[in-house]
Structures are given as structure tokens and as C-alpha cells.
Symmetry: none
DNA sequence: GATGAATGAGGGTTCATTCAT
DNA sequence: TATGAATGAACCCTCATTCAT
């Protein structure tokens, strides 16, 4: 490994640490509530040192936001890898819940931005229009083919999003409802099974 | 009306204005991000004047939070006014969605607190235990009586909460999904109908 | 004296102290070099306290600048109180030199702004156009009437300005040239006499 | 050219670039207002790279100041190359004005230092004493010989300095007075002619 | 020589809160 | 009551400088 590569590696590590710290802070406190102090400390840096790597808090926020939606975008919509609605819906839900439980802060950061009215995010929303429409089209095809019941494709997408996202955004409440302490694991499979069944039944795909 | 009564009236008006301002600010910025400056301005007060009515920002936050969950608590759980699950579920969903669309800030303030890990709220959660269990018991009764399919009573409550709450917490995203501008009204009835149908089908109550 | 008047008085005193401090600091360090810290200290305030009275450093700079040119503007141009050029010129020079020696910081603040390219000042220069032209017209009248020699009215104004201003802007050098310590007084009358004679001779008004 | 010579050449170029950058920055912002960042950028260097060539900002300031007064010192005083006062004075003025118009930043840097009270410069002023006195002596000779009117030799020197320097220090105001845009050239000859005539008349040397 | 990184101090400004009046 | 003023902490960020490499 060359000296140059080592350098890049080091730099990247710091940038990763900053990103993680930013996600954590922004997720729980929001843009205004988060302090660069806390982000720096969490990333193991001094405040001026942090500013060696980033320019402003706002920019860091935007970059963090864009990073997560980019990483995450493949899970935003129903995919058309399969022709079978049951498979497609089940996979969407499983993937989304797994992500919600594995990276709740990422989900909450997104939720926080949307709750604020999405001032930053909406500048990048046009890119998602197509995904929404493609998923809607897919569902309309299933409905016309009599594969699923006649549901509103847009609302159905939103409802799946709402429920799967809930396990991240409302993790504390989920724990309360399920009577779990903060350190006890959430039963992922139980949730996936239940939520999947809910939505399959809701569109007439479950014969239980 | 006596002078004393007038005074109390005036005081109460100010307290109401402060509460409204606090809900608005805390909902969009969180506890840390909100400033007493902004709350005071929104309530039509000066900053020192605000501190005449409240003691600290934290306390105002807690009081506001407790107020809304108190006002709101009757909608938190399935009520047992009727014996008919279809009626009970439909009414829960309709009420909850109407509230979400009418007072999204209240919902978002709650969401924000939970997303932070509910540090304040959890001190008052024990009071909700009973409501959760009563609703679970209610559902178990329906299941045993063969009135609804065998769903997980706890998860089912959470799922209904998640979907109904979504229309407040993710209002901006809902508008994007439904292609609505910020000033266009959201079609309440369409949503209530759709979500109700979803959950009724999900527990075998819909014969459509 | 009413309580209200007292308050206004107190406030005004602080504002005056801030203005004086600002003149002093901005004059010797410029806009960028001056620190609100130093201005606050000089005005007998803490830094946050200073911000109770002013909003930003830039605004304070601009206000200070505008204040001094406003106070000072009556000395900027040749006045036409008399018909006699000798009187007019003599009085302009005497007044201007007295001001330069009495309030060198005010002069230097102005000089500093102009040396920077007058980014703020030039937004308010249009108001001075008339004064310049009126003075030029006055001199042209004298020339046509054969009262003074044919000098360039614009350059003559600038030359008088340059020399009189010099005793403020270059006070330290003046002291060096005249071999004066920092605490020794500058002989105002000697300078006024000499400079007046210079310019009167220069336009043919001195018969010495 | 040897490798060593090349090296020295390169180094010198960088030092020249730094000096130019320093003059520019210090002239418009002063010692405190100037940033090493800006100086480095203007010189095409990084900040640490700049510190490879200089030690501190203060030292750079002092060196720059000393350099310009050294380069410039031959123009500071009336020279005695000729016996004829008219020639000597005319040449002083022409040279000084040409310099002011060609290198206004150099002049302004000097002016700024003097306006601050010349804390650095005064440590090197003793060297100028002689020049001042020699010029004064020269003028006294002319006066005694009846070649010029009886003017104060010290004030006369200062007045010539003031007027010639003005075209650099107050360039922005000069442009305003002459109604010139920032990109229009200033008419050098017009100024030299006028100022020269002024001072010649002022000491009885102009028969116009 | 030159670059990335680090640091401690200080920049301007706003914060929540308190205290006079 | 409610306002002007004050304060100390903290805000985000840039400074000049140094030190590895």
C-alpha cells in the first residue's frame, strides 16, 4: 500500500466517522438542535478539526441527507424483479423492516427532515417521481390482471412505508408496546411476518 | 365579571398563546432546536415576559407534551363503546386520521419526542400500560369469538397507529406522493376510506 | 425628569459610548481589523451586551460612517456665505484644520474607508455631487470676475482637502516632522496660517 | 545557470509574489484585518507553505513596510541634484505623483501604518531625520538667496507630501471628484501640471 | 520543499435566563 | 406587570501557527 493510498484511507475513515456522527446527532436533534461540538466529539475530533473536513453545518446536513437517500433509494419503491406480487410485496416489507431495525437513526434523520417540511429534500424529490409512478404502474398491472384486489396504488405504497418505517421512527414506543427494555432485541422475524401478512391480506393475497 | 376573573381570563389567554407557540416550535425544531425567542415572538410576547409565565424551556416542553397526550389520550387506544369490531376499528381510524390532518404539529411534536428516545415521555408511560392492555384484551375477545382473524393485538395496534400517524408526521411526503402543493387540501375522506378498508380486510372484516 | 426620560438618557449615553468606541477602533484598525471585543471593552460593555444595542459589526460600521459624514458635511465644501474668495477659502481651511486636529480619528475613519475603495461610502456619494459642483461653480465665478487666478476648481478643492486632512491622517508623521512628542500639542495657529497663505498665494490672493 | 542559481531564482520569485500579495492585503485591510490565508492565496501558496517562507504575520508586515520605504526613500525628500528650486520642486512633485498613481497600494500601506500611529515605522524614523533636515536646509538656502518666498520649510515639505500622496490614498475620492469610473485612467499630466503650478506659485516661482 | 492535519485562541453572534425597575 | 438591561455559556466558524510526513 502506497503512502498516498494510506492517506486516502485515513481521510476516508475520518469522513466516515463524521458521517456517522452527523447521522446520529441530526437524527435525534434535528438540524437546528444538533451542535457541531457534539458531532465533532462523537467523531473523535476537535471542533476546528471538524471544520477542516467540512465547511458548514448546513452543508454537512445536506450531504448526509443526500448520502442516505442515495444509499437507501433502492428500497424506496416496489421493485419489479419478480412478476409475482406476493414476492414483490413480501420482499419490500422484509427489506424495509430489516433496514428500519438495523439503522433506525438513518430512518429518523429522514423522518425529521420530512417533519420539518422537507426544505432540503424537496429540492431533490423530482428524482423520485419516476419510482413512485413505476411502482404505481406495476400495481395497476396486477389489479387489471386480477392478481390483487383493487387498492389505491399511491396510498398502498404510503401505507407500507408508514408501517415499516414506524419500527425505526417510533422505536421507543415499539419497545414500550412490546414491553422491551432498551437493551433487549426486537424480534425482527415476528414483525416481518406480521406486517407482511397484514399487507398481503389487505390486497387479497393471503389465504390464511 | 369581576376584575379578578378578568385577570384570570387574560392570563389564560396568554398561556394558551404560549402553548400554541410552543407546539409549533417544538414540533418543527425539537426541544434543542427551538428557541424561546421564537416561541415568545410567536406568542406575541417579549422574551423576559415569556419567562414571567414559564420557568424554563425544558419545563415548557414537558408541560406542552403532557398537555397534548392528555388531550389526545382518548384517541390512543381502541375504545370499547361498541361491541362491534368493525365499528370500533373504523371509528378509531377515522378519528385518528382526522386528528392527524387537523393538528399535524401536535402529532409531530409527539413523534419528535419518541424519535429522541422519549426521555420525558417514558416517565409518564406507565399510565398508558392499561390502555394498551385493555385494547389487547378487547381484540383477544374478538378473536376468540371468531369475529376477526387471529392478529397480534399489540402489533395490530401499532400498525394502525403507524398508518394514521403517517399523514401528520410525513405530511410533506404525502403531498409529494399525491402530487399536491402545500396549499392544496388533502382529501381526508379518500384516506379514511382507504385506510379503514385496509385494516378491515387485514382482520377479515371486509367482504369486498 | 421623568423615569422615561432618564431611561432614554441612559440609553443615549451608551449609544454615544459605543459610537465613540467604534470611531476609535475602526479608525485605527479598519472594518476587518476592528474587533467587537475591543469596541465593547472601550465602551465599557460586555460583548453580548454590545449586541443588545447593535446588530452587527458591519451595520455599526456603516452607521458610524454615515454619522460622521453627516455631522461633518458642512465642512466638506467651500461655503458661499461670503462673496469674498479670500474669506471663503480662509475659513474653509481654518475650519477643516481645526477639525482635523480636534478629531483626527473621525478623519482617519473616513480616510480608511476611502483607502479601501469606499465600498460603503460610494453608495451615499451621489448626495455630495451637488456640493462639489456648487463649489466649482463658485470658483469659476471668481475666476471669470478676475478675483482669483485660473485654477482647476476640482483639483483645487482636492488640494485643499488633501493638505488640511493630512494633519489628521498623518498626525504621527506630522509630529515627527515637527519634532513633537505624542503628548505635545500641535501648534494649530501656525499650521492654519501657513496653509492658508499657501492656498491664497496659489490663487493669487496673497500680496505678501 | 547552475542548479543552485535556479533554486535561488525560484525562491526569489516566491518571495516577490509574497511581497506583492502582502502589500495588496495590508494596504486595503491593515495589519489586523489582513489574513495570511488571503496573502497566501494571492501569492499562489498554501497557508503552511507561506509559513515556510515567512515566520509571522507581524514580521511579514514589518519587512514589507521596511522594503517599501527603502525602495521609496529617494522620493521622500527634495533632492539637491540641481541648484534650481523650480527644477527641484517640479521634479519632486512629478516623481511623487507618478509613483502615487502607479503604486497606490504602496502609498496606502504607508498611510495605514502612519494612521495607526506608526508603531512599527517610528522605530526606523531616526534614519529619516537627516533627510528632512537636509531638505529644510536646502530651502532655507533658497530663501536666504531670495530665490523663493519665505515659507516654512517643514510645513512646505509636508504640504507637498500631502497633496501628492492624496492621489493614492484617496484614489476612490479622486475618481468621484473627477467623475471617473474605476476602470477609466486618471489624467496624470493634468494633475502634475496643476499641482506643480500650485506649489511654484505658493513659493513665488510661477510667473503665470 | 510542500502537503495534510492539528490546535488553541479568538472571531462575531445568539442563547436561556435573571434582575432591576 | 412588563420592560430594558445584563450575563455567562454556548453557538458556528476562522484565525495564525505548528508539526508530522
Amino acid at each position: 500500500m502506497t503512502a498516498n493510498a494510506k492517506l486516502l484511507d485515513r481521510r476516508q475513515k475520518i469522513h466516515l466517522a463524521i458521517r456517522d456522527a452527523a447521522i446520529e446527532e441530526f437524527a435525534s436533534k434535528g438540524l437546528d438542535g444538533a451542535s457541531t461540538q457534539a458531532i465533532a466529539r462523537r467523531a473523535g475530533l476537535s471542533k476546528p478539526q471538524l471544520h477542516y473536513y467540512i465547511s458548514t453545518k448546513e452543508e454537512l446536513y445536506e450531504k448526509t441527507l443526500l448520502f442516505i437517500i442515495n444509499e437507501w433509494s433502492d428500497q424506496f419503491f416496489l421493485s419489479s424483479v419478480s412478476d409475482d406480487p406476493k414476492t414483490v410485496i413480501s420482499e419490500y416489507i422484509a427489506t424495509k423492516i430489516r433496514h428500519a431495525l438495523a439503522q433506525p437513526q438513518v430512518c429518523r434523520l429522514f423522518a425529521n427532515e420530512v417533519a420539518r417540511g422537507a426544505p432540503i429534500l424537496r429540492r431533490h424529490w423530482s428524482a423520485s417521481r419516476e419510482g413512485v409512478e413505476r411502482a404505481a404502474e406495476l400495481m395497476r398491472g396486477w389489479i387489471e390482471a386480477g392478481k390483487i384486489k383493487a387498492v389505491d396504488p399511491y396510498l398502498f405504497q404510503m401505507e407500507m412505508w408508514a408501517v415499516t418505517q414506524h419500527f425505526a421512527d417510533y422505536e421507543a414506543q415499539v419497545r414500550f408496546m412490546l414491553d422491551l427494555d432498551d437493551d433487549q432485541p426486537i424480534d425482527e422475524e415476528r414483525i416481518i411476518t406480521d406486517v407482511t401478512a397484514l399487507f398481503l391480506r389487505a390486497c387479497g393475497l393471503d389465504n390464511s
